[in-house]
Each structure stands twice: as structure tokens, then as C-alpha cells.
């Protein structure tokens, strides 16, 4: 899932201070799990803004709201009339949600209420780790299920650099060396010999380097268009 982290209230205040009606809009899927931007956190941020406004002597109306997802219209469409009553929407969804909602709010700006950190997992309650970089061409079968693109500080493809120290990355003692983990895991799986092959330079065009990406499922698009046509024809008969 997508892991987010809270922005400092000072930064949020700088964004919102010149607006009169502000909606802090939470998203109750990924960013709620990581305690960054669900409805509960949206409520907290809203009250922090209200407190700050009071301290600064600013007249502001700040409310909060939450929906299941900001990345699919069916979840926020039912509350759009409410959303459009505000001068500013501070979305605490991930960046996907902020972009997506912003395209649909007309003259009302949508600002980011949190930082979108990475694709990760819940290692332990309160501990979230990055495990995938969304590069668009998965090679986890070749690296023991451990991604060197997301988890090696240098995205190395052919083994560790010279900086591995006691199994840790040269960047920090708090970061595991991905290649140390890969080697140990592949030993356990009995597939270490797979690492002997030199992996040639990657084609990064499936990653962000190919420009913004889109996945289109033709069969689903065809079905949707068919249904739309049917509905239109049925409407015509009336």
C-alpha cells in the first residue's frame, strides 16, 4: 500500500493561512492504515489549524470529512456538493488522491496535507518499510523476492557494492544492505547460482523515465463502452 507521513503543522499553516473556508479531507484506505491521513488524522489536523487561526486572530472556518478513497470518483462523488462549499481542500490522501481530486474541483484548489512517502508494508505496528519502487518490470524471481531497486541505496543490479558493513548499508547502520539479504535468502532457497549471471543494463522506460504511465485493460474498456451504448439506446427508446 501507499505509505504517507504527516507534514509539520507549520508547513500546513503556511499553505492554508490565507483561506477562509478550509476542508481537511481524509482518505480512509492506505494513509489511514499508516496513521497519516485518514478521517481521524484529518480531524486532528483541522483542530490544529483552528487553534492556530485563533492564536493568530484569523477568522477561519475549518472542517473535516473523510471518504474511503480519493483515487476513484465513486467514493468522493457523493460528497462533492459539500466539498465545493469550501475555498480550499486540504487533502490528506496520497499524492494520487490530491492530483485526482484537484482535476475535479473546478476553481477550488486542492493542497497536499501529508507527504506521500513510498509503497510499503506494515512491518510492525507503527513501522512501515519501503519494499517496491513501482519500476514497471518486476525481477523479484531473480533476486530471492527482495527488490534491489527499492531496497539498495544505489539500485545495483549485479551484487553488493563495497560498502556493506555487518550486513548494513553504507548510508546508515539502520538500513539493511539489500544485497546482503538477497544473497542470504538465495542461499536459503538454494538458488544462489542464479546470481552468477551478469544482468545487462535495464530498460528504465517502464519506470518513471518513460514519462507518466497508464495501464489500459482493453476488455474492460470495451465492456464499459458497450454498457454505456446499451444505456444510451435504452434511453432513446423511451
Amino acid at each position: 500500500m501507499i505509505i504517507g507521513s504527516q507534514k509539520p503543522i507549520e508547513e500546513i499553516w503556511e499553505m492554508v493561512k490565507d483561506f477562509r473556508k478550509v476542508l481537511v479531507f481524509g482518505c480512509n484506505t492506505c494513509v489511514a492504515v499508516c496513521h497519516a491521513g485518514g478521517e481521524k488524522e484529518a480531524e486532528t489536523i483541522a483542530s490544529l489549524i483552528r487553534m492556530r487561526a485563533q492564536q493568530e486572530g484569523k477568522e477561519m472556518e475549518v472542517n473535516h470529512l473523510g471518504v474511503m478513497r480519493h483515487c476513484e470518483p465513486e467514493y468522493f462523488d457523493p460528497v462533492m456538493d459539500e466539498v465545493k462549499k469550501y475555498d480550499l481542500v486540504l487533502s490528506t490522501a496520497c499524492g494520487v488522491g490530491v492530483n485526482f481530486l484537484s482535476d475535479r474541483t473546478g476553481n477550488i484548489p486542492v493542497y497536499p496535507g501529508i507527504n506521500t512517502s513510498f509503497y510499503g508494508a506494515v512491518e510492525a505496528p507503527g513501522n512501515f518499510v519501503e519494499l517496491c519502487a513501482g519500476c514497471g518490470n518486476c525481477i523479484l524471481h531473480m533476486t530471492g523476492g527482495i527488490c534491489p531497486i527499492a531496497r539498495c541505496s544505489k539500485t545495483l543490479m549485479n551484487g553488493p557494492c563495497g560498502g556493506t558493513n555487518n550486513g548494513k548499508c553504507e548510508v546508515s547502520k539502520d538500513i539493511d544492505c539489500a544485497w546482503f539479504l538477497i544473497v542470504e535468502r538465495m542461499k536459503q532457497l538454494g538458488t544462489l547460482e542464479k546470481l552468477s549471471e551478469v544482468i545487462p543494463p535495464r530498460n528504465w522506460s517502464t519506470s518513471r523515465d518513460g514519462g507518466p504511465r497508464r495501464v489500459s485493460l482493453e476488455h474492460i474498456r470495451a465492456y464499459e463502452e458497450q454498457e454505456a451504448q446499451k444505456a444510451a439506446t435504452a434511453g432513446g427508446k423511451k
Partner: protein, 324 residues
């Protein structure tokens, strides 16, 4: 000859090769490069010109290498994978070759977070590239040289003829994978290898035994890395903090002993430690060169280029072979 470089000729002659290192300055001071080049000229077969080591901005390896060449010192240009994508790398390789450079060492490069150290602010917020890794960069150089093709496949009318190098840290984690690491670099096309600094001769020899069993010592020229120690503090730091470097207690004890002999006299303590450091260096050079499969030494006297002449002479490695 693959490149016709002096380093390649020395290695082909079967005599032990000696490479040294020249760190370019953190300003546009080309004179500093010339000064260091003059200190090294004649005492090594080629000198590595570091490529923004520890991610600190310095005169580029290529520019400093050309200055060294003008001074009559054969350079080994270094290229990290940190700062360039494959387009910039190949452009610089073509440029370097056109300017007369004949050796290139491919390395991953220290992470940019290293640049903010001590009094330096560095650029820890820089974006790193790593479009390709070391193995892949070695392969690109080989493809350009031997097939006359760019990585993407487009032909090169004039191919850059580099003697291709890579680094190797024999004793870093995971230790049992390090020989495979070396094999991959050799399979990719590394003609020579310079290792991380060696103090633990036993550890190095045990890794070299594996390398010989794999036959890698016959497919590439391994130059053992020697980092000239200056003080007990430096040895302790390297032992505790530098990946893949462990320093036997006996060496640290030797340094501590001469330091203690100087008592309160700090200047004398420094001089005595430096002298002991030079003695240790010469011993290490002999021990590394006596290790079967080793074809030479790579001596790093960090910010102490003036020490190289004495070390090479004391080790019996002077004069260096000369070719017409």
C-alpha cells in the same frame, strides 16, 4: 594490446604493476593537479584520478587526468555510476579517449550522503543516478572497445580503446559472495582489478585462494590495495568504520607504541607514526605481492602523494619499467 596503455604494457610484461592515486582539488586549481602529478611521475605505472570521491565536488576525473597526462603521468580515469546516466558516461568515455586517456576504472561511487562529513556541507540532497551499475558499465566499455558499438547498438566509427578496470572489496560482507562479485566483473570485461585496502593479509590470502581455484587471476590482473597508514587513529578508524577493512591489532599496537615513545611531543608523535606507517606499508606491499595470483599493488597515500617515491623505492619497485 587492447588499449596500448603503459599500465597494460607493464602487466603484459609480467613485472609487478604499481598504481597510485591522485585526488583532484575542491577548486579550479589545476596547478595543484600538476604538483601532485610531478610527485607521482616515474614512481608508478599509472595513477588513478578519483571521480569526486566520497561524493565531494572536485575537478572532474577526466579534466584532471588530461592535466596529469600533460605532466607525463599516465592517468587511470575513474568513472562512478553515481553521477551519470549511460548517455553522459559514453559521451565522457568518447571524450576521454579522444583526449588521449587509455585506462578507465569503473566504480559504483560512494553514496552522496558521504559528502557531508567533518566540516564539509557537501551535497547530501543530490539525486543519484545509477542508471547502470559497475558490472554493466564495465560491459559498456568492453562493447564500445571490442565491438565498436554504443550500449544501445549504434556503431562507433572510432572506438575508444580503454584498458578496463574495476574495484573489488575482497573482505566485505557477504564475504562468501565476494569471489562471485569479482567473477561477474571479470566476465563483464574487467582487464584489471584494484582491491580495497588490505591490512588483514590472512583474510586476503584466503579469498585469493578461492579466486585462484576459479581461475580468475589468469583472466584479470589483480592489484592489491595498500592504504598508507598515517597514525594509530587512522588505523582504528579504518578498522571500525570502513566497510571490508579490518586491521589486525598488532598493527594498531605498533603505531600506538611509537606514538607513546614521543610522549607529550605531538610533532614527534606524528613523525614517528608516519615513519612507522611507511614501514608497515612496505611490509604490506611485499606480503601482497608474495600472494600467488597478485599482479601488482595499488598504493593509496591519501593527501600524501609525496610519500609514494620513498615507498616505491623502499619496496624495491624502482625504477619502473619503461617502454618505447
Amino acid at each position: 594490446m587492447k588499449s596500448g596503455s603503459n599500465l597494460e604494457k607493464v602487466i603484459a610484461s609480467g613485472k609487478p604493476a604499481v598504481t597510485a592515486e591522485l585526488g583532484p582539488p575542491m577548486s579550479a586549481d589545476g596547478h595543484e593537479v600538476r604538483k601532485k602529478a610531478r610527485l607521482l611521475k616515474g614512481f608508478c605505472d599509472a595513477a588513478n584520478i578519483t571521480d569526486c570521491q566520497t561524493a565531494v565536488v572536485r575537478i572532474s576525473s577526466i579534466a584532471a587526468a588530461v592535466i596529469a597526462l600533460q605532466e607525463g603521468l599516465e592517468p587511470v580515469m575513474q568513472m562512478t555510476c553515481r553521477d551519470r546516466n549511460r548517455i553522459a558516461m559514453q559521451a565522457d568515455l568518447l571524450g576521454g579517449a579522444a583526449l588521449g586517456l587509455r585506462n578507465c576504472l569503473c566504480i559504483a561511487g560512494d553514496h552522496q550522503s558521504f559528502s557531508a562529513a567533518g566540516r564539509l556541507k557537501g551535497h547530501p540532497g543530490a539525486k543519484n543516478v545509477y542508471d547502470v551499475d559497475t558490472c554493466q558499465l564495465v560491459g559498456i566499455l568492453k562493447k564500445m572497445r571490442d565491438e565498436g558499438k554504443q550500449e544501445g547498438g549504434d556503431p562507433l566509427e572510432v572506438a575508444p580503446k580503454f584498458f578496463i578496470g574495476a574495484s573489488w572489496t575482497p573482505m566485505a560482507d557477504p564475504v562468501d559472495f565476494r569471489p562471485v562479485n569479482l567473477m561477474k566483473k571479470v566476465n563483464a570485461g574487467a582487464d584489471f582489478i584494484q582491491t580495497q585496502g588490505i591490512y588483514d593479509i590472512e583474510g586476503f590470502r584466503s579469498q585469493m585462494e578461492k579466486i585462484r581455484k576459479m581461475g580468475l587471476h589468469e583472466r584479470t590482473a589483480i592489484l592489491g590495495g595498500i592504504i598508507v597508514p598515517k597514525s594509530a587513529m587512522m588505523l582504528k578508524y579504518m578498522d571500525s568504520s570502513v566497510a571490508g577493512v579490518s586491521v589486525p591489532k598488532s598493527l594498531i599496537d605498533r603505531m600506538n607504541k611509537v606514538k607513546a615513545e614521543a610522549g607529550e611531543d605531538k610533532k614527534k608523535a606524528r613523525e614517528l607514526q608516519e615513519q612507522e606507517g611507511l614501514r608497515i606499508t612496505v611490509e604490506l606491499i611485499h606480503q601482497v605481492l608474495e600472494t600467488p595470483g597478485v599482479k601488482g599493488v595499488h598504493i593509496q597515500a591519501i593527501e600524501w602523494e609525496s610519500a609514494i617515491e620513498g615507498i616505491v623505492k623502499a619496496a624495491g619497485l624502482y625504477p619502473r619499467p619503461a617502454f618505447d
